[in-house]
Chain length 364, copies 2
Amino acid sequence: MTTRTLLLLPGDGIGPEAMAEVEKLIAILNAAGAGFETERGLVGGSAYDAHGAAISEDDMKRALAADAVLFGAVGGPKWDTVPYEARPEAGLLRLRKDLELFANLRPAICYPALAEASSLKRELVEGLDILILRELTGGVYFGEPKTITDLGNGQKRAIDTQVYDTYEIERIARVGFELAKTRRGKVTSMEKRNVMKSGVLWNEVVTRVGREEYPDVALDHMLADAGGMQLVRAPKQFDVIVTDNLFGDMLSDVAAMLTGSLGMLPSASLGAPDAATGKRRALYEPVHGSAPDIAGRGLANPIAMVASLAMCLRYSFAMIAEADALERAVAAVLDSGTRTGDIMAPGCRQVGTSEMGDAIASAF
Amino acid sequence: MTTRTLLLLPGDGIGPEAMAEVEKLIAILNAAGAGFETERGLVGGSAYDAHGAAISEDDMKRALAADAVLFGAVGGPKWDTVPYEARPEAGLLRLRKDLELFANLRPAICYPALAEASSLKRELVEGLDILILRELTGGVYFGEPKTITDLGNGQKRAIDTQVYDTYEIERIARVGFELAKTRRGKVTSMEKRNVMKSGVLWNEVVTRVGREEYPDVALDHMLADAGGMQLVRAPKQFDVIVTDNLFGDMLSDVAAMLTGSLGMLPSASLGAPDAATGKRRALYEPVHGSAPDIAGRGLANPIAMVASLAMCLRYSFAMIAEADALERAVAAVLDSGTRTGDIMAPGCRQVGTSEMGDAIASAF
Ligand SMILES: CC(C)[C@H](C(=O)O)[C@@H](O)C(=O)O
Ligand SMILES: CC(C)[C@H](C(=O)O)[C@@H](O)C(=O)O
């Protein structure tokens, strides 16, 4: 029997509650022989409280060794004043950077049962299924210099640096084209080439990779601001959107909110396949945050975390049948009218986090 | 009689058609003694065709000397391959920078007659009236280095630099607080302090200016990605949003699209008041672009350009009664069911650019 190691990093806020539901599903998979071995670690504020850092060196080693990482959420008002280098987000950013998880897949899908929950008109989002592919280890998130300097006279100067090299754009573009081939065959690349040099290079490299390596995939370019508008106006025009780290952060959040399914959306962050084994490092996390306002009260919607496990089964372990079954279980539970508070609707039955997890487990 | 000089820069695409309707209104104002003296200049692709630059030195001098600039739109496929330094947008960016127009006011209002045109549900946008205040002369738009370097081996490196100094954040924050005092008394500042040092400084300076100088204005902070989500989820929660150049570009476009009134939205870009005269440099422009697909066919909606003139009357010339009257004229024409193609609805009467301009002129 293969051993598959999973590192669980529940993090802060509603992270641990959501992760507990995922553990029920892992137990079911193991009972059927999946052979998952799970370890547990700390990240974010909870790691800071325990170790004074947003992730410990030990947990970083575990993450580097694991087949995949399942990540909950980080942050909360309790840690608003910790030193910048130890803020909860630093743990997540270090994981992304040190595991070289350059490809962040953020599906924005609208669950039919939830189309009414979108702030957009039903006909604009019903059946929506787009994928935002965000570059995750470059750009303004990690470029140097990144400093605040005291200029004297009460003046400071803050600097952040957006840097992209050709190879970084090439590899994310290739992931985008490959994904598009398994979907509707269309890539839209977004940047601000009219203002940013990184946008000029981005556009040039994506265009060349498309022309030379993926002539059968349709490629469009859109300025990122216009792209934000078009997401709101007519999101179904897109298939795969490929964009940089910061634009991806903004655009994927807008796209997620459009679906009305924010509490339901997973994401996958993938590294390059290892030359020898073909394995790629990977981290899976919900798109939603730590929601400190409802944390610890059994109210959180665990579906995004569960859907992250489904992505993990699909992308890290090629357990396609199990991934499909899990996604069908989620859809069935929603269709049956079982809802957590965030997606409650007239005529449905409101449940808490663990009841929702149990319902998915029994439908699985 | 005071002389008031206006520089008209119609630009490319639908810019000239929209500007022609504004000229009708200026003529009406002059007949009533307003004393506007208008000059005309070229910007964008049309300036490139005439002078090989996106704006000539002569027109820059006229812009610096004018009391206000009315700007149409720039760009189009014809100029997609001109050298980077001469691309149409460079004319607009130079105007913003050399006139030191650091404060960009982008109202996102939903005209009652158009609530149905929004992709959002009517109840979420009906009555919407928010103001995005975007910093316009700093950040990643102008920071140096801004380069593409050849690294050899087929690799290039692109760099853009986000720079903000304390004074730049202070002055835009003050404009935001002042505007909030004339509105609903609430400022929301947006940045990414969890990732960007410029966000940390932004947050710190806005907080201090608020506490020390505007204790009566309510101040909130939101991460820019969450801000984008909240704009889609519940835009009416905001009054004035203050944010940097790049986030402002993204967020104001999303907000504009939410209203369903994209073809109707004006913007004002203001400099600092002159110490001696109190006058501030100013440029007014529609939020929409040059729409090359419909240019030259008399189809464009001139209302955003007309509303930009109304903002000009209000902010540059303190002609409040005239500004109010012009905005009422626009609303009356819409209420009467007169529509250009972009905002056409069942039961309305479709007209072209100049008929729309004439209808506004007669209601004015
Ligand atoms: C928590 C934060 C650092 C992170 C980001 O900005 O990337 C989050 O917003 C996200 O999108 O995953
Ligand atoms: C034309 C372009 C340079 C400009 C910008 O990015 O600022 C436009 O998108 C805007 O928002 O005014």
